[in-house]
């Protein structure tokens, strides 16, 4: 393993120091427990929107802290859910009368740790609610699994819930909107290579020279099946099919298409895949009205991509377009 790190145990903390130095106008970092907080937090009268999870998915979540998106992010160790005390620290730093919404990706560890933090907050008479995002169509959603994982949809959810909170929506309204987004967003990912967790020192899984893991999670957890490598046209068609048929999305639907790099995919390939997805959706009469293309929810140095579709309406589109000023997403600000 070659990495630009010092002691693997210090990776997250040292990285957060760099994040803080780079974006002092947007955010600040508290250490021990590690929390990334909006520079002007707590914002009086505003619902706090908080998310978090294992590190290694950057820019998620710390890169989305700032005006119009998250009030705080709680980074755990690499690929490890953060602990309740860290979530609690994020709540304390940001949450007032208006309460807070916790955006939790559906992984056992995240759910359990945020749950505990929520209970602790309730004990302090703070109005803290949670929503669990589970947009990954690769996983069968049944009692025989831990349920679907939270993946690409998380980014869109954080943007939209953040915009609603920023415009002054109540906690009830922000929560309702978040649940609406969760209900109409779907994703799927593929991996060409595996990530290497610093404290593990070797790739998280072994993939043959001509194999693709179809339905990968953001920790490199497998999903549906291993398939032989195939041309981009075929692969993207497979991905689009899996998402579209799941919700399902149909002719005339207005959507946001999010083409995400898992980390190490060259942008030239990412845009190539995006172009194919646009074409396939147009063929189905699905109208792509907004798009996001880039590495926004990653899995360290994993090569691969994910596609996310969110069904839009006027309100969601307006919230998507609203100003945002974070390290990783910025417009109209």
């Amino acid at each position: 393993m070659k990495k630009i790190i010092n002691d693997p145990a210090d990776v997250v903390t040292e990285s957060l120091r760099g994040l803080a130095a780079a974006h002092a106008d947007i955010l600040r970092v508290q250490e021990d427990p590690n929390v990334v907080v909006r520079a002007d937090a707590p914002v009086a009268g505003k619902v706090a929107v908080i998310s978090g999870g294992g590190s290694g998915h950057e820019p998620l979540h710390g890169g989305f802290v700032g005006l119009g998106m998250l009030d705080a992010a709680v980074p755990g160790a690499v690929f490890t859910s953060p602990t309740p005390d860290a979530v609690q620290a994020a709540i304390s730093a940001t949450t007032g009368e208006a309460g807070a919404l916790l955006i939790v990706k559906n992984y056992t560890g995240d759910v359990l740790n945020f749950e505990t933090a929520g209970e602790l907050a309730a004990a302090e008479d703070l109005d803290v609610r949670s929503v669990v995002i589970d947009d990954d169509v690769a996983v069968a959603d049944s009692t025989y699994t831990a349920g679907r994982r939270g993946v690409g949809g998380t980014v869109l959810l954080e943007k939209i819930a953040g915009a609603a909170a920023e415009r002054g929506d109540s906690l009830d309204a922000v929560e309702a909107l978040a649940r609406k987004v969760i209900g109409q967003v779907r994703s799927i990912g593929v991996a060409l290579t595996a990530p290497t967790v610093p404290h593990v020192g070797e790739p998280s899984f072994d993939l043959g020279a001509d194999e693709i893991e179809f339905g990968i999670g953001i920790h490199g957890e497998p999903g549906r099946e291993r398939i032989p490598a195939e041309p981009a046209d075929a692969l993207v068609a497979r991905m689009v099919g899996a998402i579209v048929e799941d919700l399902p999305f149909g002719e005339g639907d207005r959507v946001l298409l999010f083409t995400n790099s898992m980390g190490a995919t060259p942008l030239v390939e990412l845009y190539l895949a995006h172009g194919i997805a646009e074409r396939l959706l147009a063929d189905r009469g699905i109208m792509v009205e907004r798009r996001l293309v880039g590495p926004y929810i990653t899995s360290l140095e994993m090569q691969g991509i994910s596609l996310t579709l969110l069904k839009l309406d006027d309100e969601l589109t307006e919230l998507w377009d609203a100003p945002v000023n974070t390290a990783a997403l910025r417009w109209k600000a």
């Binding site: 294992g54 160790a77 490890t80 309740p84 560890g109 831990a146 593990v200 998280s204 957890e221």
Partner: protein, 207 residues
């Protein structure tokens, strides 16, 4: 012979040593059907428990267990952190502030721990989780109930070991391994393995 606070602390120190020794093995098991962090998470947590005990050993066994619980909750993260944390918390509650633990209290603590894990994680027998190690451990401890602490823990350790082994053939239905579906069969569950290691360490400390 009952368990003093110092005895419980020693058992935890022994557990920390065993986890450290098996860190790489637990990582490897989790790499196969999870995300490869279980050994690191457990090791970070138990090293923190040792550090906390080095500060001062609380004066009842229950308080020692509670210190372990809060430390694990705030240091382990992942799925295992809240689950083991809850187990120790429930165990500490059930033994309240008794100065020493006899065999009956140890059995009760083990059962409380199991119930805590199940209450939090909703896993049942056969889901391929630490529950599959804990269930037979508690059953064996209860069967050995009349005996002394050492015998209870020895029985529990044996139950956990064979329970952990039984997870190899199972298809996971909880936790990260469940994403693998059928492909999860043929692998030992890392959480079940760490449960077996902990109980083995506790049994050794009690010998």
């Amino acid at each position: 012979m009952g368990c003093t606070p110092e005895g419980v602390a020693n058992a935890l120190r022994g557990a920390a040593a065993v986890i450290a020794e098996h860190r790489a093995e637990l990582i490897e098991l989790d790499r196969a059907i999870g995300d490869g962090d279980h050994g690191e998470n457990m090791n970070r947590g138990f090293q923190a428990v040792v550090a906390a005990l080095d500060g001062a050993v609380p004066d009842t066994p229950g308080a020692v267990l509670k210190l372990a619980a809060t430390t694990l909750i705030s240091k382990v993260g992942g799925a295992a952190g809240p689950l083991y944390g809850t187990a120790f918390l429930r165990a500490s509650t059930v033994v309240s502030n008794q100065p020493e633990l006899g065999a009956a209290e140890v059995v009760a603590a083990l059962r409380a721990g199991l119930e805590g894990v199940q209450a939090r994680g909703k896993a049942v027998e056969g889901d391929k989780t630490m529950v599959d190690a804990l269930l037979p451990a508690v059953a064996a401890a209860e069967k050995a109930g009349g005996a002394d602490v050492a015998a209870v823990l020895a029985a529990a350790a044996e139950g956990a070991a064979s329970g952990a082994q039984s997870t190899v053939d199972l298809v996971a239905r909880k936790g990260r391994a469940s994403y693998l579906g059928e492909r999860s069969a043929g692998h030992l569950d890392p959480g079940a393995r760490s449960t077996a290691l902990l109980l083995e360490a506790f049994a050794k400390a009690a010998r």
